[in-house]
Symmetry: C2
Subunit: 285 residues, 2 copies
Amino acid sequence: MDRNLPIGIFDSGVGGLTVYRALHERLPNERFVYLGDTARVPYGTKSLATVERYAVENAKFLESHGIKLLVVACNTASALALPAIRAAVAIDVVGVIGPGARAAAAQVKNDQRVGVIATEATVQSGAYARAIATVNSAVEVVERACPLFVSLAEEGWADSQVAHAVATEYLKDLTTESISVLVLGCTHYPILRRTIAAIIGPDVSLIDSGEATAIEVAARLEKLGLSHDEDIRRQTDRRLGDDLDHFYVTDAAQRFAKVAERFLGTAPSILEAVEVWGHDELRSD
Amino acid sequence: MDRNLPIGIFDSGVGGLTVYRALHERLPNERFVYLGDTARVPYGTKSLATVERYAVENAKFLESHGIKLLVVACNTASALALPAIRAAVAIDVVGVIGPGARAAAAQVKNDQRVGVIATEATVQSGAYARAIATVNSAVEVVERACPLFVSLAEEGWADSQVAHAVATEYLKDLTTESISVLVLGCTHYPILRRTIAAIIGPDVSLIDSGEATAIEVAARLEKLGLSHDEDIRRQTDRRLGDDLDHFYVTDAAQRFAKVAERFLGTAPSILEAVEVWGHDELRSD
């Protein structure tokens, strides 16, 4: 394996940019290839079979592009499709559920509860609860789907009064369940971090699964001897979305660029529309 | 054409049930076949080429099922893909934009403005403004995308404080534009009708494009001599979602049934998961 290959990241859409940002901050010496499956977003309301099929197609597309490791940024795909993805590609695959669950389990005491907020499909899968149980089976996990958070983040309303009202409604069950750790189990939710923190209160630690994943990816590259050996950081003025990273979407590149600017503070330099399901025609706005 | 064939309806997902409800109320003597493309919902953030492809696949699926007329319930598909659909199928095709625009134009005076709320893709297409201009080019049209309304409707939060806060934010531009008619240009929005009416005020008439479409479909069937000739109404206790109507989804039938119950007051009796894009495997929850 060529250690100078980029790291692949796929997500159902634009939300995975929070995971890209976390990886980019933690690993400024790596290059990234990001695929957002915007033609088929969202995954969070879809079935297991469908999410598996879409995820495998995305993984194969990135593998064929030449990557040294694949990060499944989408929580729903990580919850439902990791076994199918690992069976389909030869490279190392890292999901966001395991790292997020391990970070939560490390922070919680035996008599405390962990809260998880995520998409409907991730909550229904119970993947976070199972992953936390493998670390500490004594920890109770309370889960809640918060579908409106995605639209709030994409609208640029993360810190609005409306976002506060929505968060108050979604988190009221969790506040009465007296949790001490809350996992942000959907890539969009870190965008609402300030609002969520204000509602859930200062006694609850927030875990960003994307950040937890970046820490584990850094450790894994180190261990496998796959860290990039050129010093990109010294050679270039490394920035989010610069031309060392390549972004693909399966549809509506203009909209992706607009929301990316909201999420990253900048639109990607290199953004291309592709098909990942076996056709070869291109698609654009 | 067999006048006793059902009417086909397709939508990107569950929202089109408001159009089904309007058709069912207006035409209780007809049978309906409904397709919700839940594997690929939503269309409102996707590109022209993608919406066209999905819409044509849905239309062909329903045509092959045997229908006498096709209603494109999805505003986005009606705005972007009617020419492509009409080129692809032999049956009569009715979209929701034309009827909604004509109903709005009929209610507005020359010196008044029409407001249109819809998805991002429908607003960007300018389809409502163009359709209103063909009836009365003197009427000014003000459009606004309201993406959060979809999640609010599906969450069952249509009449909540949060919905009021969201509607206040979205509609504030329209209230200062002093419109006299507001078109609900997305199938989900009629679910929030009470909230929208409360915010926009009693001086603005609300046009439900689904209801306007049902009126035009009834007239067209009459004119074409295609009204059902058996008296279903007398023979059965006709209800929304009863076994005279057949519902197909392309994914996640359980979730569809749950939201359908919220939208119609009942889950469909006959609900089946299918693929519409040339594969023959079935898919379920």
